[in-house]
Amino acid sequence: MDLFDFTDGREGYYGEYGGTFLPEILHSTIEELKAEFRKAKDDPTFWQEFIELMQSYSGRPTPVTHLANLSRKLGGAQIYIKREDLNHTGSHKINNVMGQGLLVKRMGKNRVIAETGAGQHGYATATMAARFGFESKIYMGAIDVARQRPNVFWMENMGSTVVAVEDGQQTLKDAINECLRDWVTNMDTTHYVLGTACGPHPFPEMVSWFQSIIGREAREQMISSTGKLPDRVFACVGGGSNAIGLFQGFMDDEETQLVGCEAGGFGPGKGNHAARLAYKDASVGVAQGMKTYFLQNDDGNMLHTHSVAAGLDYIGVNPILVHLWEKDRVRFEAVTDAQVTEALKLAMRTEGVIPALESSHGFAQAVLEAEQMSKDEIVLINMSGRGDKDIFTIADALDDDHWKKFIRQKAEEYGQ
């Protein structure tokens, strides 16, 4: 199945989802981007250049790791993880960002902007900008700036300007709005490096394409390590880029179930979570450049969302995944904050891996299901990022007293 064959429908649409909802002033910018992207996608040397860059700079291919201990402990399916955490900067976000960096170079632009929520995408973009020599500005909700200072610290040290967005909920969606505002002002020199497979066409396609490197590698690796395809593949879904990246590798393998794991937060109920499809609190809307499911009220205004994982705490979702969900190709599930922190602890203790809180959503759902499966079945989880950069969040999630004491001591040391 070629998700991006638009000959039978409208370009940039997946079923009824997707599209390009942008101010007219960006029309030519987005056309230029589409054209450049199309040329790159049709040019096999571009993908080769991308692959080589990811190998030499980010350490790709990332391996798949068999979690034999965890599998044994659960007594069910054999669990494997795809190690996007081993990428430079610690998550799959770098795949997309370096790919867009190459496009920016082709377009002759010299400035990039990006939104970031958890900080991972901003961190990756700042890295890419330093490496490519671009000027860069990262927009981040003021609340996220306050709670994700470590990422801000690194972004600034890599030469990016980080702008704390004071509007709205002061989180990811507001940072996206602010990026759009910058973009409509500076589109001549500036590329907007969108961080997930959302937003106006061609972003969902483009980000999916760069992230497909995950699934391409994973399919081959699973076959060569296990001799067969996984029965189920799990990935957390924030915007939906790591999920679509991995899922693409198995799209035509109909026996392989694809499971998107959303942020269940405190559980169902408007405002308690960020599960657009697994729970019943979202509906179709148009915002942030695309038509998809949003957590919104009857007037179309966006709801507050909540997740222990800042990177999943988003109102909208990848339109491609919505389409695949409607076609029953991708199943959606949500796991709660409490299930997620338990899964994280389990992963640390039994296997010595520290999945990011985002990725831990995939682990949590996989653990639930693997237990019920038979020993000769195989599941693959996307470990989209590592958790060690999120020490503040994780220490808070685990309510660690030593950590609090340490922070108090540090604060005292720093004085007033």
Binding site: P23, E24, V184, D299, G300
Partner: protein, 263 residues
């Protein structure tokens, strides 16, 4: 079908400009429910006093990505006060019944989409509105909305921008009715625009593609700006500047602002 009522109104108002001693028509902007509907009413009274020709009533949205800081804040506060789509239509109805200027809705597409495109336009019609400006809805995505609008004789106000090619302007012109909103510069609302030869050239490019009257928006603050627009186009759009005046000192400031702008 074109919205002949609005079109006739605009051409009448245009014709009367010399007699009214005005270089250009004027369209003003109000964010529904911000600071409050009472304040909105008083603003509109002042605007009416000064013979404003058109008014945009903005329906607040939680993600006003094409707006500048002042309107962003206005949108947010209106929403957090609970201003709903119902409230906005009720208010519009009151406004169109009380005042002689013509009213268009301004807002983001999700407000329309979520209400239902047909329902929304029917309600707009019923509230006395004449058109809609939806900055995040490119014409490619607007087919259905524009069809319903034509049926209901409402004007889809198309935006033309300095980054558009002539070909694109021609495409946009095909969809235009009522007037065209030409965006004076890149960026969002709320900062001043240099009224210079670049802008004049851009307006000329638009005029070459359409006979529909041209409104010029983004950053108009002075009588000179209005004069410039009168020379090159038809309607000066007054957005942020008026709200700023209101926030500074209510009716008095707003009157002061319009006095320097229009007299």
């Amino acid at each position: 079908m074109a919205n002949s009522e609005l079109n006739n109104y605009i051409s009448d108002r245009k014709a009367s400009l010399p007699s009214r001693g005005r270089p250009a028509m004027v369209m003003t902007h109000v964010v529904c429910g911000y600071p409050s509907f009472e304040d909105n009413w008083k603003e509109l009274q002042v605007m009416h006093e000064f013979g404003v020709d058109l008014v945009e009533l903005q329906f607040p949205f939680s993600e006003p990505s094409a707006d500048g800081p002042l309107f962003v804040k206005a949108n947010q506060e209106a929403i957090s006060k609970g201003v709903s789509v119902d409230d906005c239509f009720n208010f519009m109805k009151k406004v169109t019944e009380a005042f002689s200027f013509k009213v268009v809705m301004m807002g983001y597409f999700n407000t329309i989409f979520k209400t239902g495109q047909r329902t929304f336009l029917e309600r707009l019609k019923e509230a006395g509105g004449h058109g809609f400006i939806v900055p995040d809805l490119p014409i490619e995505e607007a087919r259905i909305l524009h069809e319903i609008a034509a049926e209901l004789e409402l004007s889809p106000i198309v935006l033309m921008t300095p980054t558009n090619s002539d070909e694109r302007l021609a495409e946009l012109a095909l969809a235009a009715d009522g007037f065209v909103y030409t965006v004076a510069r890149k960026g969002v609302t709320g900062t001043n625009t240099d009224m210079n030869s670049d802008l004049a050239e851009f307006i000329d490019r638009c005029k070459a593609k359409t006979d529909v009257p041209l409104a010029v928006g983004f950053g108009i603050t002075t009588a000179e700006d209005v004069a410039f627009i009168g020379k090159h186009a038809d309607i000066a759009v007054i957005g942020t500047a008026a709200l700023k005046a209101w926030e500074t000192g209510g009716e008095t400031s707003l009157r002061g602002f319009f006095t320097q702008l229009l007299n």
